[in-house]
């Protein structure tokens, strides 16, 4: 049994998985609040020689898939309900499955006056309650840099109607990626309320995917994949030659 072909196959499969990961990142190069995901590989038997302890078994596989939480570029939109969080922190939203965290700040007010994210989930305040905004004239809403929402009335008075909560995590690693730029908190993770966050109102945080980096990774993964393919092909030719051995005529 020749195990080399399986080593090559393992390499090819892990590169293919990385390509899928890169494709996801590139697809979200303009998604608001998207955080790029990264992959690291490991060898099953680190540094063992084919001949000794590894007994010819030498595979590589995906070690982990993690999220890079670096801040993305801030795009100015001048929309008063577009909010980007400066530095660390997440908005807390109510999804059907429970509380979720996101950095996606394209908010709007729905017909019931509730503050919603762009993907239609209520944004929560520090008491985990949705924020409702009285009146239906959104042009009178202003959010200040620590997340307090005020409504301007006709006579020029300002009324404070709620405060958007911003949480930081004790460990960003305790956030589990979900679809739609949401993250859930795994057990052991701890949310910490930030009373005075620094918000950029009228701006959105765009995805932190760096196209150049992804392109280079894509080239590297493709070419490595190709090399593994060649190895597999060579083994296949070898097998063919073995079959031909001993055939008569």
């Amino acid at each position: 049994m020749v195990s080399g072909k399986y080593s090559a196959l393992a390499g090819a499969i892990s590169r293919e998985q990385r390509l899928a990961n890169i494709a996801t990142n590139l697809a979200n190069v303009n998604t608001v609040g998207y955080k790029k995901s990264r992959m690291s590989f490991e060898s099953l038997l680190r540094g063992e020689q084919q001949t000794s302890a590894a007994k010819g078994i030498n595979f590589s596989r995906v070690r982990e898939n993690f999220t890079e939480f670096t801040e993305g570029p801030i795009k100015n939109t001048t929309n008063p309900l577009d909010i980007a969080i400066h530095q660390d922190g997440f908005f807390k939203v109510q999804s059907k499955e429970g509380f979720r965290y996101t950095r996606r700040g394209d908010f709007h007010v729905d017909q019931d006056g509730t503050l919603m994210t762009g993907n239609n989930m209520p944004v929560l305040d520090d008491g985990n309650a949705p924020i409702s905004i009285p009146g239906n004239d959104t042009s009178k809403i202003s959010v200040n840099s620590i997340g307090e929402i005020s409504v301007l009335s006709i006579d020029g008075t300002r009324e404070l109607v709620g405060k958007i909560a911003v949480y930081t995590m004790n460990e960003n690693n305790s956030l589990k990626r979900e679809s739609d730029t949401l993250f859930s908190l795994e057990t052991g993770g701890q949310e910490v309320l930030n009373e005075t966050p620094l918000l950029n109102v009228g701006s959105l945080e765009v995805s932190n995917v760096n196209m150049t980096e992804e392109m280079a990774l894509m080239i590297e993964s493709t070419r490595t994949f190709e090399s593994y393919q060649k190895v597999i092909k060579a083994y296949s030719t070898l097998g063919q030659k073995q079959d031909e051995l001993g055939t008569v005529g």
Binding site: T212, A216, R223, T224, E226, A234
Partner: protein, 261 residues
């Protein structure tokens, strides 16, 4: 894997940052009191394949060794505090600083920030504030009925109040200087904060040694030089292009390798 692929990537990323800085300079070409930034780069670590001076035989040594660089990284994006153009506006609350120094501004949270944008306004309480409504400190309140506010070049603010014919002194504008202006933290809204690198603010009177004079009815424009920025933009674009060529070439070389079998 082939090094040049990642080296080219660092080059492209560096030029991207360079363009980001240039774009911000150009966007603020007519921002009052704006100070341009410049990105500085440095080379990344080197992989030493052979140490210079290593023995090549009993009595010879390698004169240069083999050191392969791995690319570039941004080292600093620095603000340059050269004087901007002085623009005459005729508005009595526009005050430019000619020379070194910053105005002190009180932020809503009680902390102090610094600015060179001297386009002051009066708020509803008569205080002298910045365009964002942040009062300057020490605070100056312009009494109701003030006419003809004059600000001397050493910062004495006086006004004719009501129907008086002699002017009354209503306050003093103090400016501050820093050991290292470049260490200030730009926080947007034309404001700077002090840091460990800038040193603490030293208060002074305009016109003292090391403090510029004030110039009423003038504003300091940005110190961005469009021609210079355009030239940087051209070199940046070309550098970006040539780095993408490096990546393409690396790709083609790997392709060649893969086609050997």
């Amino acid at each position: 894997m082939i090094r040049s692929l990642w080296t080219g990537t660092t080059g492209m990323n560096a030029q991207q940052l360079n363009l980001d800085v240039i774009a911000n300079n150009l966007a603020n070409v007519s921002t009052t009191g704006f100070k341009k930034s410049r990105a500085d780069f440095q080379d990344l670590m080197y992989q030493i394949l052979r140490v210079p001076g290593s023995q090549t035989s009993a009595d010879t040594e390698s004169p240069s060794g083999i050191q392969v660089g791995l690319g570039v990284r941004p080292a600093a994006v620095q603000k340059l505090f050269t004087q901007g153009d002085l623009i005459q506006t005729g508005n009595e609350l526009d005050v430019a600083i000619e020379g070194a120094g910053f105005y002190q501004v009180e932020l809503p949270n009680g902390e102090t920030a610094y600015t060179r944008a001297g386009a002051f306004k009066r708020d509803g309480d008569g205080r002298m504030t910045t365009s964002d409504g942040y009062p300057i400190s020490p605070g100056i309140t312009i009494p109701d009925g003030s006419r003809q506010i004059t600000i001397s070049e050493t910062g004495i603010v006086s006004a004719l109040i009501g129907d008086e014919t002699t002017s009354t002194e209503i306050g003093n504008i103090e400016t501050v200087a820093f050991t290292n202006d470049g260490g200030l933290l730009a926080v947007g809204k034309n404001l700077f904060r002090d840091t460990e690198a800038s040193g603490t603010a030293q208060t002074g009177t305009p016109g003292d040694d090391g403090y510029g004079l004030l110039l009423q009815t003038f504003l300091e424009g940005s110190n961005v030089n469009i021609v210079e920025e355009m030239a940087s933009m051209i070199t940046t674009q070309r550098a970006y292009e040539i780095n993408s060529k490096t990546i393409q070439t690396s790709d083609e070389m790997m392709q060649t390798t893969n086609q050997m079998v």
